[in-house]
């Protein structure tokens, strides 16, 4: 894709705090009208990267461009208020001394225009009844909608969402996520969503970037990254993983789980398999293992088994074996991941 389709283009950006490298030569592209997920563990630098895009942090190397205009270089930083970005914060950051309507209209100039935009957004996000309420009287989901409406009000080129669901619990989380996606798609807004939750990232994002230790380690579609991670860190970010020792010899990786072709030099590697991709067979078939524990987790059971050399975890829907049973395990070679050590 041409760079003219890029709404946000981050090239070789670094940010250092004292001795700590928060972002290390990161590259990132958000395409126009799409939702990009930025997934990483705590301290991986994802929120700092988002703040550099918003202009809330300066950068020490690289460039950031928004809608074709360079907004950050090491010597230059366009002020946040002049970047045409909207941001939704982890704690929503609603102004406690202003009503919902005043919060949403905070960034707008001109009264007539402001009232019209605020009214339209409150209606779209179904919070029009609460327009005169103060933020502390709202539920978590309502607060989130106000924060989104406020960020959308200035018609930003891009919306940045920093852990938008982390302060919401269970059932509300899914509901709010659906609402948010619907609104972003309806308005055709380009958005970057920072999260540490793989499920949130994969459900929301059309494109995904994985961050670890300040670096963007892999980018692609959620399905592609889930199935074909290029490193242990990337594989782990996207969900639970069993890892075993393996060795590559003449383009084929071999471990207790089986064999898979690998374009890697000869030597030790790791082989991974998701707990959902391990299957049980009869005791005399496949890899022999003993069930060490079984835990009920709602829609599936977490079964931990041990072979002579490795311990593995399985997520099994339906009937589960009992602790102490001897079972056989099979693996679809296509589901195996060969990861550099």
């Amino acid at each position: 894709m041409a760079d003219t389709d890029a709404m946000v283009l981050v090239t070789g950006v670094s940010r250092v705090f004292g001795r700590r490298i928060a972002i290390d030569r990161a590259d990132l592209t958000l395409m126009r009208g799409r939702i990009l997920g930025l997934l990483g563990a705590s301290g991986s630098g994802k929120s700092t990267l988002l703040r550099t895009i918003a202009g809330l942090e300066s950068i020490d190397a690289g460039t950031i461009a928004i809608d074709g205009r360079v907004v950050s270089t090491p010597g230059l930083a366009l002020a946040p208020e002049n970047r045409r970005v909207g941001m939704v914060f982890q704690d929503f950051a609603l102004f406690p001394h202003l009503t919902v309507a005043q919060n949403v209209g905070f960034g707008l100039k001109g009264r007539a225009d402001r009232d019209a935009v605020v009214g339209r957004l409150l209606e779209r996000l179904r919070i029009v009844d609460q327009s005169q309420a103060f933020p502390h009287t709202l539920s978590g989901g309502e607060q989130q909608r106000v924060a989104l409406a406020r960020a959308l009000a200035r018609d930003p080129a891009v919306i940045l969402l920093d852990e938008p669901f982390s302060s919401l619990d269970g059932s509300l989380r899914g509901e709010v996520r659906e609402d948010l996606m619907e609104t972003l798609r309806e308005t055709g807004t380009s958005a970057i969503v920072v999260t540490h939750d793989a499920e949130d990232a994969m459900i929301m994002a059309e494109d995904l970037a994985l961050m670890d230790g300040g670096r963007v380690i892999q980018t692609g579609t959620p399905r592609d990254l889930y199935n074909n991670p290029t490193s242990v860190a990337a594989a782990r970010l996207l969900g639970p993983l069993n890892l075993v020792e393996a060795r590559v010899h003449q383009g084929v990786a071999t471990s207790v789980l089986g064999q898979k072709s690998a374009i890697l030099p000869d030597g030790p590697v790791r082989m991974g398999i998701r707990p959902t991709d391990l299957r049980l067979t009869g005791p005399a078939q496949g890899l022999q293992a003993r069930v060490a524990s079984v835990s009920f987790a709602g829609g599936y059971c977490v079964v931990r088994v041990k072979t002579d050399t490795v311990a593995l975890s399985l997520h099994l829907p339906g009937e589960a074996p009992r602790t102490g049973d001897v079972v056989g395990l099979t693996v679809d070679p296509a589901r195996l991941m060969v990861l550099p050590d």
Partner: protein, 525 residues
């Protein structure tokens, strides 16, 4: 973002305002003018100041912590009223308490005459002495210890004590091993504040004929006209101020963190039944009577005997009110400039707090040198009255910046960093975000700061004495004038009028402070 922004520039200016007089003192002390202070005098003043500070520190520690421990950890009749009322002596200027007790126990006074006649006793405490001054200042300043220890007791939550109990401690062991060690920082902070006020006091010790470094500073200027001598006497006070401020700041490190506040649960007070309850009640009533009701009542009885000079009193009251409000507003504006950048400039904020521990007399001496330069070099540019009032307000602001900074900073902590970031991404500059978000949210705290400074300015004496323009007398100044002439009934009127000005503010503040709870956002204003 980095670099010098408008807000940072304002913070630097505010800090410069606070620091300049202190630099002035040091410069004057090392100037080449004559400063005939006998070393023996300096040592005598310093030793008296130390002895007074020690006695007041010790007795305020006992009175403040016992009263706080009674009120927070026990229930007895009147407990809820005493929770805030025990801080009311803060409204009374120490010199007024000194006038009342000196007169009450005067050998020729009504009380001693009555005691000689009826019970046949010819004994009474000698108030015009070091122990007498320590007694008066302890009653005036114990609320500083009471408020800090009370806050620490309330903050510590029942969970720490419950954890100790679940680990095998008896109630007494839990108190000794957990509750008391947790109180140590608060006690140190409260005593440091009381000692700072003791070293800064001029009116009470001067009236009680106790010669301290602060009375020495004022005398050097008024009697000998020697700025250098005054500045040299002020130097040890500056050193003591820095030390006390360091102790007070150090003790904050042990305070309850935000996470602990979220899990805060109130302490269940132990009921004091029968005689023990009455004893607690008697202690609190006794303390409040000695600290406020008795001195104020005695001054009122004496004052009612005479017909006051109302025009003079009204003029002085309007000066006190005007300077109080002007000083408070100027101080809070400067403190707010500092507070808006304090998080990113902690050193600047802390160093500008040095003025708080510096006696007003020292602050005034520090301003005299630059002021005389101004008067000599810009004649007629500003009227003497204008410059004088400006200098006075300057001295108040430099001295009380830290007192205002604390509530304003606390108010600004209600603004999360992400709220400021949100305002920035919504089109506001750094200054715009401060005006549209940070200041409105902290407005309640700014009002608190205005009241705190107002109370202190209305009670202030030494800096006002030194810097006030000719013919601008405040209530504190005319009380001091009358008291010097031994016209106690006349001194009673301005003293009681000061109380009338400060008491409503103190009641409002102490009720607000004692009603707040950990984790509370201090109400929605």
């Amino acid at each position: 973002m980095r670099g010098l922004t408008v807000l940072r520039l304002l913070a630097f200016l505010a800090a410069a305002v606070a620091i300049a007089p202190l630099i002035g003192v040091v410069a004057a002390a090392f100037g080449d003018g004559r400063a005939d202070i006998a070393a023996a005098d300096l040592v005598r003043y310093a030793l008296t100041s130390m002895a007074l500070a020690f006695l007041v520190g010790l007795s305020t520690a006992v009175l403040g912590s016992v009263s706080a421990w009674l009120v927070v950890m026990h229930s007895f009749p009147g407990r809820n009223i005493f929770a805030w009322a025990l801080a009311l002596p803060l409204a009374a200027p120490a010199f007024a308490v000194a006038y009342a007790y000196a007169d009450l126990f005067d050998v020729a006074g009504e009380l001693r005459t009555w005691m000689r006649a009826v019970p046949g006793l010819d004994w009474g405490p000698q108030m015009r002495s070091l122990p007498g001054a320590a007694f008066v200042l302890s009653l005036a300043f114990y609320p500083y210890v009471y408020l800090t220890v009370r806050a620490a007791l309330v903050n510590q939550s029942s969970q720490a004590i419950e954890a100790a109990r679940s680990l095998g401690c008896s109630p007494t062991q839990a108190l000794v091993r957990v509750a008391l060690p947790l109180l140590r920082p608060a006690l140190a902070a409260g005593v440091a504040l009381a000692v700072m006020e003791t070293l800064a006091d001029y009116g009470a010790v001067q009236f009680l004929s106790v010669q301290t470094l602060t009375t020495g500073v004022v005398r050097s200027w008024f009697v000998y006209g020697s700025l250098e001598a005054a500045a040299r006497l002020a130097l040890p006070l500056l050193g003591a101020a820095a030390l006390l401020l360091w102790i007070e700041r150090l003790s904050r490190k042990g305070r309850t963190d935000e996470a602990a506040r979220a899990r805060w649960r109130p302490i269940q007070p132990t009921p004091l039944e029968g005689g023990r309850g009455l004893l607690a009640l008697a202690f609190c009533i006794g303390l409040l009577t000695l600290g406020l009701f008795l001195p104020a009542g005695w001054l009122a009885i004496k004052a009612l005997d005479i017909s006051p000079d109302w025009p003079r009193l009204v003029r002085a009251a309007s000066h006190s009110l005007g300077l109080g409000l002007g000083g408070a507003i100027a101080t809070v504006i400067l403190a707010t400039c500092l507070a808006l950048s304090a998080e990113r400039m902690p050193f600047t904020a802390r160093i500008s707090s040095l003025g708080y521990a510096t006696p007003g007399a020292v602050m005034a001496i520090g301003l005299l040198a630059p002021a005389s330069l101004l008067w000599q070099n810009v004649p007629g540019a500003v009227s003497g009255l204008g410059v004088g009032l400006l200098l006075l307000i300057y001295a108040y602001a430099a001295r009380l910046m830290a007192a205002a900074l604390e509530p304003v900073e606390a108010g600004l902590t209600r603004v999360t960093p992400s709220m400021v970031s949100a305002a920035r991404t919504l089109g506001r500059s750094e200054t715009g975000a401060a005006l549209a978000v940070r200041l409105p949210i902290a407005s309640g705290a700014m009002l608190t700061a205005v009241l705190v400074v107002f109370i202190d300015v209305v009670k202030e004496l030494p800096a006002t004495l030194i810097l006030r323009p000719f013919n601008v007398d405040t209530l504190a100044v005319i009380a001091d004038n009358y008291a010097r002439d031994e016209r106690l009934p006349n001194a009673g009127w301005p003293s009681l009028m000061i109380l009338a000005l400060t008491l409503p503010a103190v009641i409002w503040l102490t009720r607000k402070i004692t009603a707040s709870r950990p984790g509370d956002l201090n109400g929605r204003h």
